[in-house]
Symmetry: C2
Amino acid sequence: MAVSGRHIHVARSVLDRLFGEGFQLTKLRDLGQPGEFASEQTVTVVGRSMKTLECVRVLGPLRSYTQVELSGTDAIRLGIDPPVRRSGDLIDSESVTVAGPCGSVHLKASAIMATRHLHMAERDAREYGVVDGDRVRIRFTGDRALVFENVLVRVGKNAALELHLDTDDANAAGVRLPMTVKILR
Amino acid sequence: MAVSGRHIHVARSVLDRLFGEGFQLTKLRDLGQPGEFASEQTVTVVGRSMKTLECVRVLGPLRSYTQVELSGTDAIRLGIDPPVRRSGDLIDSESVTVAGPCGSVHLKASAIMATRHLHMAERDAREYGVVDGDRVRIRFTGDRALVFENVLVRVGKNAALELHLDTDDANAAGVRLPMTVKILR
């Protein structure tokens, strides 16, 4: 499993404005899903409260849309109320300002709290008896034991089997990586 | 229910060193449990990481021990690893430095993450069929639906019926106060 801290996916046009025309992200490290990476670049996010989140990691590769993924704790600090959504579902989501070294952009309808989700390949889906879009429950044990409901199954051709939680969920469950968990149906 | 942000309970000797000899806490507002209050006073907490949490609320009345209650998110920022404990159970808990306007104290074995707990009076306990020290499960619905396990029942003579969650748990569950929840047995 993986714990997703606050981060931003960017489109070409936004990267140009934040880091300069034609800027290329440089890789810091690979992420669990094939081709995805944390870049060395970070931005500052400013919310309606005028408070900021600094050092928000830019993930690559570039996407066709720009999306800021925050935890509930982050949202409270920024004074915004982002919806819980799956990646790319940005209609009526929240607005924030993002600043880079070369400029800033006010991003309308770009900030969400990512739905808890479980990446898996088609073979894994068959094994677990689920299909893309299903919701499963996942149980964590220990002092902070809990059961997450509404965990979205995302089946992808080349996906690696990996649960993605945000930092609030991970800290509520007392996650210490690496950790294996139990999927309930 | 109530969401407990990071806070500190203080003993007389610690209050004296932080705020001056004989200092009296002044009430900001009453809390849900009879006699408990948020004071107007705050302190700064410094962790092993040398990072700080500012404006940490001092709760009253004074206690016989000093205890800092943090979320997992706070603990990561401070670079410490506090255990999940019920109030007052501080053996081998974490150490932090606390600074007030008149001085600072390095508090050994004083920082915990509070166990999720449910305050109730004896009459409530009889009604729910539980006794002090029991663990119950509590379910939250909505986009961020989950079931908290290991919720400690704390029965007190004058206790008000109230679930206490820290900010990580509350944000993981998408809590918006006021909210009523379902106790599972």
